[in-house]
């Protein structure tokens, strides 16, 4: 894991503070500038996630001017912090034993075990974009009006940069900073951010690029990252479905539904092209508890002063995840047709086994929910007092 050292890092002949002072056991604490300290603290808080002791909102509100370059001690500490990104992924679900479709020489087979047992160690590349994001987070006073905050322009992102964006959105998801973050072109250029936080990033009439937008996540190291995040993605999408039931503004619901539709359609197409349909299993895991509790995404109370046509459009848009379940149903039919002598038999059996969480009855119910959402008079949702687990 390396950080591109140009152009933001100040070159120095030797680290000024990290050297031992004679005795092998006595080390001086590394010393960095105050703004460098804030950058490192921000990185640690994001990477540690729920385990971090720092309050993310306090960190985001306290702005500090950052120097145009950082010193080598800061670079070393930052690299050390980002090196824990894999550990963060284990903590978020990668450590759980699981079965996934293999890649490379094991393509088409089911590979079982924990994340590190299924895959050889792989580098998680970060670029200077990560540093740019951290500097922006430290220097931006998020408590100030959003219109006064400097924008963070888009730039090409490595997989590690995308993960840092995802972790940032995740850390800020319960704070007012989420809206500011979601509006930044830098954040919107990260496919992983869309996959994890589509509802937060939704805007009216914005088209996402095609399925190739998600290709970095369905191949190589990106697929490993997604395997680790799969359970968390399922929880995010489940929570987003529940949130849709409480939405009041039809326009907002239409925007959320359109974004979710594009993300799921693009991602599923990319998974299909990469022969990694298992990466889209989080869709079933998100939908299964909704079906078990009979919780369709029908909004309980849309603004009655708005046009009926707009409310009808919003209800249809709310079915994005359910439409993806129906697409999974079509995939399931294909998996049932894979014969024992076919190369993908083991993978197909794995997908059939995992599809049982929903099953044919679930697909039928999904189709019924979609029909109800699009009907002239939808039935009232079964419950509007659901809390996110």
């Amino acid at each position: 894991m390396t950080i591109d050292r140009e152009p933001d890092i100040e070159p120095r002949d030797a680290p000024r503070d990290a050297a031992p002072v004679g005795d092998d056991d006595a080390w001086e604490l590394p010393q960095v500038a105050a703004s460098e300290h804030d950058i490192i603290m921000m990185a640690r808080t994001l990477v540690l996630g729920p385990a971090a002791q720092d309050d993310i909102w306090s960190l985001l509100c306290a702005s500090r001017p950052v120097a145009p370059k950082i010193g080598p001690t800061c670079v070393a500490l930052l690299e050390d912090t980002l090196r824990h990104a894999w550990r963060a992924l284990w903590m978020r679900g990668g450590a759980r034993p699981g079965a996934w479709i293999g890649t490379g020489a094991r393509a088409g087979t089911a590979v079982r075990g924990r994340l590190w047992e299924r895959h050889a160690p792989a580098p998680l590349p970060f670029s200077a974009a990560s540093l740019e994001l951290l500097r922006w987070l430290v220097s931006t006073p998020f408590a100030a009006p959003a219109s006064t905050l400097p924008p963070l322009p888009a730039r090409p992102l490595e997989l590690g940069d995308q993960l840092l964006v995802y972790l940032t959105l995740d850390a800020a998801r319960t704070t007012p900073a989420l809206r500011v973050l979601a509006a930044q072109p830098f954040v919107r250029a990260a496919p992983l951010a869309w996959l994890g936080h589509a509802a937060a990033l939704a805007r009216s009439s914005e088209a996402l690029p095609g399925p190739e937008f998600f290709d970095a996540l369905t191949r190589g190291t990106g697929a490993i990252v997604l395997e680790a995040l799969s359970a968390e993605l399922a929880r995010r999408w489940y929570a987003a479905e529940l949130a849709k039931r409480g939405m009041f503004e039809p326009d907002a619901l239409i925007a959320v539904g359109a974004a979710q539709d594009q993300v799921l359609a693009g991602f599923m197409a990319s998974c299909d092209a990469a022969h990694r349909r298992d990466l889209a299993l989080f869709i079933l895991e998100a939908a299964a508890p909704l079906q078990a509790r009979n919780l369709p995404p029908t909004p309980v109370h849309l603004d009655p002063d708005t046009r009926l046509s707009l409310r009808a459009q919003a209800r249809v848009a709310a079915g994005a995840l359910i439409r993806a379940v129906v697409r999974w149903g079509a995939w399931d039919q294909q998996h049932r047709g894979v014969r024992f002598i076919d190369d993908d038999y083991a993978a197909a059996q794995l997908l059939l086994e995992r599809f049982e969480a929903i099953g044919a009855a679930g697909v039928e119910r999904a189709a019924h929910w979609l029909a109800d959402l699009a009907s002239l008079v939808p039935t009232t949702p079964t419950s509007d007092t659901v809390t996110t687990p």
Partner: protein
């Protein structure tokens, strides 16, 4: 010292506005026979409900102005209500100004009056639109029931036809819940 004068601006406007709202939905027709034949059966049921057929479209305009259109090929129903109204508003406003600012003040006052007129008309148009939406919404429950019943009868007719093509129909029994049992001798 300038002399104060009172200026008076009076503006009125009459505007014809058109508001409409509507909703589109899919009728749930089971694919039992060929699409064209099912469309025929649905059309027949709808005609008994007062719809008039025009090619692939069945249309009905209710006395309350609500227009229901069914595309027989795609089984798509569109319910729409429109309203037109002539809205008139007038505003008179006065202001005391120095005589040397008369022209400037009059222009400004007239702009204000026109803006207020536009705002009032927009509010009344929106109120009319809400009324249209509410009328439409009140009707949808009954309409859905009516269309579901028509679709149900068309489905039973399609099933009966299908059964007849398989053999000799011995009996057709319908219970109170609307379930139909067709006994066929092959």
């Amino acid at each position: 010292m300038s002399r104060a004068i009172q200026i008076r601006v009076s503006e009125s406007v009459v505007r014809t506005v058109h508001v409409e709202d509507g909703v589109q939905s899919q009728l749930e027709m089971l694919p039992i026979l060929a699409r064209e034949r099912q469309a025929e059966l649905l059309a027949k049921e709808l005609e008994q409900q007062g719809f008039q057929r025009d090619g692939k479209i069945a249309r009905r305009k209710d006395p309350d102005g609500i227009e229901v259109t069914v595309d027989l090929e795609t089984a798509t129903v569109t319910v729409r209500l429109a309203a037109d109204a002539d809205l008139s508003e007038s505003i008179e406003r006065r202001a005391n100004v120095g005589v040397e600012r008369r022209e400037e003040a009059e222009t400004s006052l007239r702009d204000d009056v026109m803006r207020d007129l536009d705002e009032r008309l927009a509010q009344r148009t929106e109120a009319l639109r809400k009324e249209v939406t509410q009328r439409l919404e009140r009707k949808l429950g009954d309409l859905r029931k009516e269309l579901d019943e028509a679709v149900g009868r068309a489905t039973v007719a399609a099933l009966t036809e299908k059964a007849a093509s398989l053999g000799h129909i011995e009996s057709v029994v319908t219970d109170d819940a609307g379930n139909v049992a067709i006994k066929v001798k092959l």
